[in-house]
């Protein structure tokens, strides 16, 4: 019994990481209806930025966030205003194609720069530290990851619903033309949304790199987990995205408990079941 409880608890904590993968994806889709195929590769890019920063400066990955977050945010703003804004319009195909191309480019640039060798961010003692709780051994890093995920979602929720920038995001999301009449520069608002999304992506990338090894090709898998968490939770609902990540994580760890080969499959099955019976996700906010 304790083993099953353990599987569920580990799954919940893993779900925090998936929610971080998903939050940026959800935010971008919510504000500008852009499905970012390169999102997973941007997570991996952030992990590599973390690698370079920690190795060159000899600092802890968490400290490296102080550099990687602004770097990714700046990259996001420039990427949005320089490239992605040009693809947005009535047709949903151009942004899909362009971000798909971007995904290929990022993977190949990383391959050139860092080779295909698996890398890992060294978190030191925190990686192996654990706390005992009612017979369960909980890793400090997964606990911290989950705590950070909750904090990030709470911050985004506050930003969207209690600040003037959040009002701008929601107004532009509702009606771009009228929002422009109110004085919002759509291109700038979209740039800020992408900057915010990639700042979250930086956190996700660093935590990913501390948890497992990564190489330039693993972005696609992260994208799928992020997507599944968003869809399970329901589009446009940030807390739903956290719930979606948790459901996906629990499905994976329970699947792995039954048979180690079933980890990924169980997650996908959980996603399909939700999609089949609740196609708007479990906690939809936007009904389209």
């Amino acid at each position: 019994m304790i083993e099953w409880t353990n599987a569920v608890v580990q799954g919940v904590l893993l779900g925090g990481l998936y929610a971080l993968f998903a939050a940026g994806l959800s935010l971008i889709f919510g504000v500008m209806r852009l499905v970012n195929i390169a999102h997973g590769d941007l997570i991996v890019l952030a992990a590599y930025f973390g690698l370079t920063t920690t190795v060159m400066l000899g600092i802890h990955p968490f400290v490296a966030l102080l550099i990687v977050m602004p770097l990714m945010a700046g990259f996001g703003y420039v990427l949005q205003r320089g490239l992605l804004n040009r693809t947005l319009g009535d047709d949903i195909l151009p942004p899909l194609l362009v971000t798909f191309g971007l995904s290929v480019i990022i993977q190949n640039v990383l391959l050139e720069a860092y080779t295909a060798d698996p890398q890992k961010l060294s978190g030191g003692a925190i990686e192996t530290a654990s706390v005992q709780l009612g017979g369960l051994a909980l890793g400090v890093l997964p606990l911290l990851t989950f705590g950070i995920a909750v904090a990030v979602i709470a911050f985004l929720q506050w930003l969207f619903y209690a600040t003037s920038l959040g009002r701008g995001f929601r107004a532009v999301s509702d009606n771009q033309q009228i929002a422009q009449l109110m004085g919002f520069n759509k291109a700038h608002i979209f740039g800020l949304a992408m900057a915010l999304a990639l700042a979250v992506t930086a956190i996700a990338g660093i935590l990913l790199g501390m948890r497992t090894s990564f190489d330039p090709s693993v972005g696609g898998g992260r994208l799928i987990f992020g997507f599944e968490a968003v869809i399970i939770g329901g589009l446009g609902n940030l807390w739903g995205t956290l719930a979606g990540g948790v459901i996906l994580g629990v499905a994976q760890t329970i699947g792995a408990k039954i048979d180690p080969g079933w980890q990924l499959l169980a997650g996908h099955v959980a996603f399909l079941v939700v999609l089949a019976f609740r196609s708007n996700g479990l906690f939809p906010r936007i009904n389209h």
């Binding site: 009002r167 929601r170 009606n175 009228i178 009449l181 109110m182 759509k186």
Partner: protein
């Protein structure tokens, strides 16, 4: 006469592939209320979109306070002091009534209009400020749309079909509030299907027909026959 607040010179505007306006000339002076009337498809909406910057034009074709704005984006025009109450109200559905009003103040222009003053003029909105706009009646939604535009403290406010789809008694109430709004030193352009309403509150009237100005007069001087001719393109 002083320089006009807004002037259109030979404005040719396109709506997609279709040319909607042909050489429209128009002047609006400070403190005026100008009515624009015309049948469906006469080009009224395109005219509004050209002035607000939603449709892009040659810079010199639209001038506001002496500045060429025809080539500016809508958000840049908004910052210069031009606001619109759009046709069909078009409130932000995921924002509360209160937030819709706050969004109107994005341009950050100081002036007589504040949240307190809007709530003073439309007390029902304060009662419903936490609600989503979709839960309000059509007339209340129109009050939010007007309040949202006023929150920008514009020099020029455009009312696009504010009576469309509203019950006559509600239209009466909205129009009762107009003089108070305009007396704050604001200049207004009023696009209306309801011609008699438009003439009641305006000092000058332009009539559009098939993308051209077919009539311009002081409201007091205009006759019913002239309007019929300009509106439908027939000579009585």
């Amino acid at each position: 006469m002083s320089d006009p607040l807004l002037s259109l010179t030979g404005l040719n505007a396109h709506y997609g592939d279709f040319q909607a306006l042909y050489g429209v000339d128009m002047e609006v002076h400070k403190g005026e209320v100008v009515a624009i009337i015309g049948a469906n498809g006469a080009g009224k909406t395109t005219l509004m979109q050209s002035i607000t910057g939603l449709v892009s034009n040659q810079p010199d074709q639209v001038r506001f306070r002496g500045q060429s704005i025809g080539g500016l984006r809508a958000d840049q025009v908004a910052h210069l002091g031009l606001a619109m109450v759009p046709e069909g109200r078009q409130l932000f559905p995921s924002l509360s009534v209160h937030e819709n009003l706050l969004v109107g103040a994005t341009v950050g222009r100081p002036g007589p209009w504040t949240l307190a003053k809007i709530y003073d003029m439309f007390p029902i909105l304060e009662e419903r400020k936490a609600q989503q706009p979709s839960t309000l009646s059509g007339g209340q939604q129109q009050m939010v749309a007007i309040g949202r535009a006023l929150m920008a403290n514009p020099d020029l406010i455009l009312f696009d079909e504010i009576s469309l789809g509203l019950a006559p008694v509600i239209i009466g109430e909205i129009y009762k509030a107009l003089p108070g709004i305009i007396s704050e030193g604001m200049t207004a352009i009023l696009v209306e299907q309801d011609i008699s309403r438009a003439l009641e509150v305006s000092s000058r009237v332009y009539c559009l027909q098939k993308g051209r100005v077919s009539l311009q007069r002081r409201t007091g001087d205009v006759t019913r026959d002239e309007i019929t001719a300009a509106y439908f393109g027939v000579t009585a």
